[in-house]
Amino acid sequence: MTVARFWRKIPQRYNLIGTKCETCGRHFFPPRTFCPDCRRTGKIVDHKFAGFGTVVTYSVIQTEPDQFASPGPYVLAIIRLDEGPQMTSQVVCDPKDAKIGMRVRAVFRKIATDGESGIIHYGTKFVPVE
């Protein structure tokens, strides 16, 4: 991944800034610049999400060196943000504690180290709400 490709997504990735359609009130994260409901009558503006949500579903990604090289184990999840949209992220917790319906909040974390360039990518992960 080039630096520019990651850099232009920094506001969204670091600060959970998505978009909102002022015409119908629907929120988008990941952000969209076109409202599928209102189409040309939609008015899209930036929206900072509060960062609270609920786990819809999840998986524990394991290390599988032969076929599936991954820095596991980690909890991959789909999270429904309180404002409505769903996003894919990781939940930083003991894999045994992961469950459907658990409340989580967004935190700023390292996501990955780029193999070739060694650039460290940061972004949003989630932690359980105490």
Binding site: M1, K9, P30, V56, T57, Y58, S59, V60, I61, Q62, E64, D66, Q67, F68, A69, S70, Y74, L76, A77, I78, Q86, M87, T88, S89, Q90, P95, I100, I111, A112, H121, G123, K125
Partner: protein, 388 residues
Amino acid sequence: MRDVAVIGIGCTKFGEHWERSFRDLFVEAGAIALEDAQMSGEKIDAMYVGNMSAGRFIEQEHIGALIADYAGVATRHITATRVEAACASGGLAFRQAVIAVASGMEDIVVAAGVEKMTDVEPGASTDALTGAADREWEGFVGATFPGLYAMIATDYMHKYKMTREQLAQVAVKNHYNGARNPIAQFPSEITLDTVMKSTMVAAPLRLFDCSPITDGAAAVIVAPLDRAKEFTDTPIKVLATAQASDSIALHDRRDISTLDASVAAGQRAFKMAKLTNKDIDMVEVHDCFSIAEICAIEDLGFCKKGTAGKFTADGETALGGKIPVNTSGGLKACGHPVGATGIKQVCEIVTQLRGDAGKRQVDGAKIGMTHNVGGTGATVAVHILGRL
């Protein structure tokens, strides 16, 4: 629109072909299909080639021209087009070939699919496959392909209480069928224990829930139905072709464990063929992971939502069951060279309809169906084929 028939089929053996190149594979599949149709390449008017990621797998693009060239038809300057929709590339290539003939624009058309996946490290091939999902908002945050389907499985098992053992029966059944298919990558039977004790990849999915990395190619030749008898005594009629799309990311779906694109494509295909699921004698579905087969047979209407685990464990999808599913061994046991899979599904149904499927033959097979999925369900192609 004209009626369209399949007049020739060809498939390489699926597997890890260290000794053979991308070019060798599609040339072999094409030659088998031409031989099957008792035809020379000079009759071909056009080619559609399903290929997901030659750019990532062998650093080659411009696959349409390459294939026409090495198939020996480039000097006639035929139409040669690559079609890409991730793992559904083959299904879409077949659909484009059918549309070309149905429209009257072309007469004799080859639909092929090819993927050479083992020329890169396993990590690189897995990463290339992640491009079938949303790279920016799934792949970059750590979603592997098994991980995405595992999230479908978690959701499904939570909602419908399917057991882990019922899910494993999908793989056991597909290996049983694969053991009866000469082109299968894994022509060996397995037990429930094999699945349950295999390495955990992405909980709840284990290694034997996952289709493998495969090299392979497949080709079929389609022609106007009224010309089919020039080439074969057993033309197989294309009764329906349908395609549907959905959100690229799993998190944007209406329901995590329903592939709405499968539902839509299935309904369109049944409507076009004026048939229902009760008319289908066997179906090849896209079991890239065991859970995908569970969702597919429900989404296509072969059993009610939430019941596919029991349906499978009861043997209803096995040979001799109510609706044999994946008689080829499916993606799991036959292998999954992504761009070729949709074409191989058509080859399997044609083989069944001709009565040539040997030990995996479905008795009296008259009508069959194929179901090919791209990504986690962002593209689905469904076809219905029938014996005359």
